[in-house]
Structures are given as structure tokens and as C-alpha cells.
Amino acid sequence: MVDGSKILISTEDLGLVYKLGRGKGKSKNPKAATLTALRDVNIGIREGEFVSVVGPSGCGKSTLLYILAGLYRNTSGKAFIHGHEITGPSLDRGIIMQAYALFPWRTVEKNVEFGLEVKGLKKNERAEIAREFIELVGLSEFADRYPYELSGGMKQRIAIARALAYDPDVLLMDEPFAAVDEQTRTLLHDELLRIWDKTHKTIIFVTHSIDEAIFLSDRVLVMTSSPGTIRDEIEIELPRPRNNELKSSELFGTYRNKIWQHLQSSTDSTREVTTILGRHILDTVPQEAVI
């Protein structure tokens, strides 16, 4: 798995069991009140690597990401960053969510400064760094706007700038482009790869779109549900820089089929998979793969 470069993030038999119910304390049947979201997850993410986690919704992708972010506590196994066990959130990890989660009462610039404030930087230092990263995502002219004045794609670029500003080692992205339109998404893919190339960050990218995962990644982890676990991983050996023509290449199609089959074999009927995965994956799967 390791090809010379260092492992940045790893997990050892990581698991999480949710307690269900309204927190009433002692339940008569404790087993009925739990849900195993993750079981025996073992991953190793290399420094600077772009890894996607693909799987049907509800399989535990967000849960895994939140554990890595330190926002959720795993109930079994361990997660590590830099060889140290993850016990809580820290500025060495930046999380980017589907719903942008920009602070609506802050201007674009003040949003990007948020992590820097937490870090305790001085006002002028914060402003300087914020401007640098707003420029990186190409939105300098919107620095003084409020989030409601921005489109979805712009909001997500600001969310990325906000996470990059405090200089984390890894970006944890939870279906960041799922809410934007197809055209914008394509642009954001190029943009993200450009930023990745420039900043050398490690990126863990969660998605339910097979194409998105292949296009962006060095490696794709295929996740299946009940309980959520990593079923397989596929090294993506497409040349970089990636461009859109690659999507119609033979190799791309091979990866697509391979991932599709992993997802499919984990469920009894194809229809179930396709409905779980939703339209997006159905669209991206070549006809012959849908048996």
C-alpha cells in the first residue's frame, strides 16, 4: 500500500455504533436501540494523496469522515493522524460539507478568517491570509459580500478557501459538490485539482458518484453498507493533469465497471443498488453494466 511516501491518516478496525432513540437512558432492549454504522474500517491515506470514498447513501461515509475530523467518537478501533490517535477536532484537519456551512452573518473574507481567529492570529495577518486564499479560489471581487449573495458553487469555493486558510494537512470533503449543477460541478472538479496541485494537501473526498471519484482520485475506496465497511480499493492510474476526455477513455470505463461491480455484489438486487445510489450513478454507469 505504501509506495515510499508517508502514511498521514490511518484507521485500525475502526467502528462506530450509534445509540438510537431519544436518549431516554436505560432501554429495556439495548440491542434494538443501536445501529452499527461502521465496522472494521482499515484505511491508510498517504501524504499528498487524493483518495475518494464512494458508496451508497447511508453506508457511513459521513460518519467515517466525522470521526477523522474528530467530531464523532468511534466506539471501537482507532483512528490516527501523524501516528497519533485522533481524540478531537484540530486545525490540522479541515472539513468541507455539502451544505457549505458558511457563517451567514460574516462576509466572505470574515468567513475565511474564522479558523485564523480561532488560531489566534492578529487582525492584519488574518486579512492578508484570507485575501490570498480568496484569490486562490478566484473570488477576490466578492470578498465583502455575504454568503446569501453567492451561488452554490461560489459558496463551496469559499468553504474550501476557509478550510485551506488555516493550513490543515488534510481536507476532509463530504459530498461537497452534490448540491451544485452538473456544469458547475465540472468546473469545480478542475478547480479542486488545480488547488490540490498547488497546495499539496492530502484530500479525502466522500462522494456517491463513481465518475467523480475516478476522475479526481489517486485511489478510490469502495464502501458498502450495513454495516459500513471498506469493500475494496482501486488505484486510479489515469494520467494527470486530468481532463474531461479521460471520462470516455477505455481505462476510465474499466474502473467504472470495477467499482460498480463491487457495489453491486454487496447487494442482492441491482434495482436496490440503483435506487439507493440514486439517479446520478445510474446515469454514469454504462448500459452493459446494468444487468
Binding site: 477536532p89 479541515g94 460539507m97 458547475t184
Partner: protein, 264 residues
């Protein structure tokens, strides 16, 4: 690719002004004219009321009453908000407290303040203290309940996002929870500000030596009818001013919101 609609429609200011004021102007004209033919002592024409207004203003008596009323209203409002906002944040945040407290709050806020007014007088007399206390009571609940609601409905993603950056609990309160619930808190404040005036007048009618409420009540007793109308008119103007100011405050604090649905 991504373009912003930046056009803001400028409404015709004159037209809006006309639409907003025409009814009030008509009513004032009716008030000025109709009583001249009515010859009813209880309905003096506007002119007479304005004369009385000018007289009371020139002797300074009117401002003494206004000053006395505003002082008590402002102190009561300030105390109530200083209590309600922090408490509301705590109750909204710690959901356990809310479960226990909610039924009691429902009872307290639905009990007419006029009904408990005598209780305050009984315990605290008819001086300033009892008036301030009753205003605190009246202004406390709207803000408290709004603040609780605001804190409870803070977008969890915003909290997670801030937490992912390792923010402290204090930081989380001041940088996320309170700004995120500020629309609710300010709506509560606006409500409280108008309640302060209403409750105050009630309290002054029960017993006082100064204040607009006292002035109205006293004038009615003494059959000084124009003077009574001056008091009512003054209150109406004060009420509008209070609403105007609190709406202004709300709009300037909440300019980050997409829609400003606050009616004047």
C-alpha cells in the same frame, strides 16, 4: 458561468410615502373638522388638542411626564433583556433544562400581566421599583422564548464547522450560537420594547405621580379632556418611535440576511 443579480429595484419613494400616510392624514383631517360640528365635550377637535399639547410642552410639564415614563421603561427593558438573553441561550443550549422549564414558561407567559399587576403593587408599592419590576416581567418572556427558539434552531452544520476548527465553548457561544440566533433575539427585543410601553402605562394608571399613563388617567378623572388626548397622542407617537428604532436596529444588525421581512 456564475453571475450575480445585483440589480436592486428602487421603489418610488414619493409613491410609497403617499400610500403609507394617506389614511393617517385623512383621519387627522376628519378629527380636525368633524368635532367642530359634533359639539361633544368628549371629542375635542384636533386643533384644541394641539393647543393643549403646545401649552403642556411649553411649560415643560409634558416632558417631565415623558421623561419619567421613558426612564422607567428603559431601565425595565434593559434589565429584562440582560436577564432574558443569557438565560435563553443557556436554556436553548442545554435541552434538559428546557424540558423541565417549558411548561412553567407556558403558564407564566400566558398569564395576563394586568392580572398580576396588583400583586406587584402589593409587594413593592406604587413607586418606581414596582413599575420597573412589572416591566421586567412583561419584557422578559418574549425575548427569553425567542432566544430559546433561536438557539435551538441553530444550524448544526455551523456548530460542527466551528468545532472542527477546534473552537472553545465560549468561542462557540459568542462566535456562532449568539450570532446565529440573533434574528430571533432581535425579534424578541422588538416585541419587548413595545410591550415595555404598554405595560408601563398600565402600571402608571394603577398608581403614580408622574408619567404619561398617570397624565392620561388623571386628566380623565379631572375631565380635562384635551389634556387626556394629548397623553394618548404622545403615547402613540412614542410607540411608533420605539418601533421605528428597534426595526432600524434589527435591520442594521441583520443586513446579512437575504430577506428582511420586518414590517414597520
Amino acid at each position: 458561468m456564475e453571475e450575480l443579480e445585483l440589480q436592486e429595484k428602487k421603489p418610488n419613494i414619493l409613491l410609497t410615502l403617499y400610500q403609507k400616510s394617506i389614511l393617517i392624514v385623512v383621519l387627522l383631517i376628519l378629527w380636525a373638522v368633524v368635532p367642530l360640528y359634533l359639539h361633544n365635550i368628549y371629542v375635542p377637535p384636533l386643533g384644541e388638542v394641539l393647543q393643549e399639547f403646545a401649552k403642556l410642552a411649553s411649560t415643560g410639564e409634558l416632558f417631565k411626564h415623558i421623561g419619567a415614563s421613558l426612564k422607567i421603561a428603559l431601565i425595565g427593558l434593559a434589565i429584562s433583556q440582560a436577564l432574558a438573553i443569557p438565560l435563553g441561550v443557556l436554556i436553548g443550549w442545554f435541552k434538559k433544562i428546557d424540558t423541565y422549564l417549558d411548561p412553567l414558561l407556558v403558564v407564566m407567559r400566558n398569564t395576563s400581566i394586568l392580572a398580576i399587576l396588583p400583586l406587584f403593587v402589593l409587594f413593592l408599592g406604587i413607586g418606581e421599583v414596582s413599575k420597573i419590576a412589572i416591566i421586567v416581567w412583561g419584557c422578559f418572556f418574549p425575548t427569553l422564548i425567542n432566544t430559546i427558539q433561536g438557539v435551538k434552531t441553530v444550524d448544526q452544520n455551523l456548530i460542527r464547522s466551528a468545532q472542527s476548527m477546534g473552537i472553545s465553548t465560549t468561542g462557540l457561544f459568542f462566535k456562532v450560537v449568539i450570532p446565529a440566533s440573533s434574528p430571533y433575539i432581535l425579534a424578541g427585543f422588538r416585541l419587548s420594547a413595545s410591550i415595555a410601553l404598554i405595560v408601563l402605562v398600565g402600571a402608571e394608571m394603577v398608581g403614580a405621580f408622574y408619567g404619561i399613563g398617570f397624565m392620561i388617567f388623571n386628566a380623565q378623572h379631572a375631565y380635562m379632556i384635551p389634556r387626556m388626548y394629548v397623553g394618548i397622542l404622545t403615547l402613540a407617537i412614542l410607540g411608533v418611535l420605539v418601533n421605528l428604532l428597534s426595526t432600524k436596529l434589527e435591520n442594521s444588525v441583520l443586513r446579512w440576511q437575504e430577506t428582511n421581512t420586518n414590517a414597520v
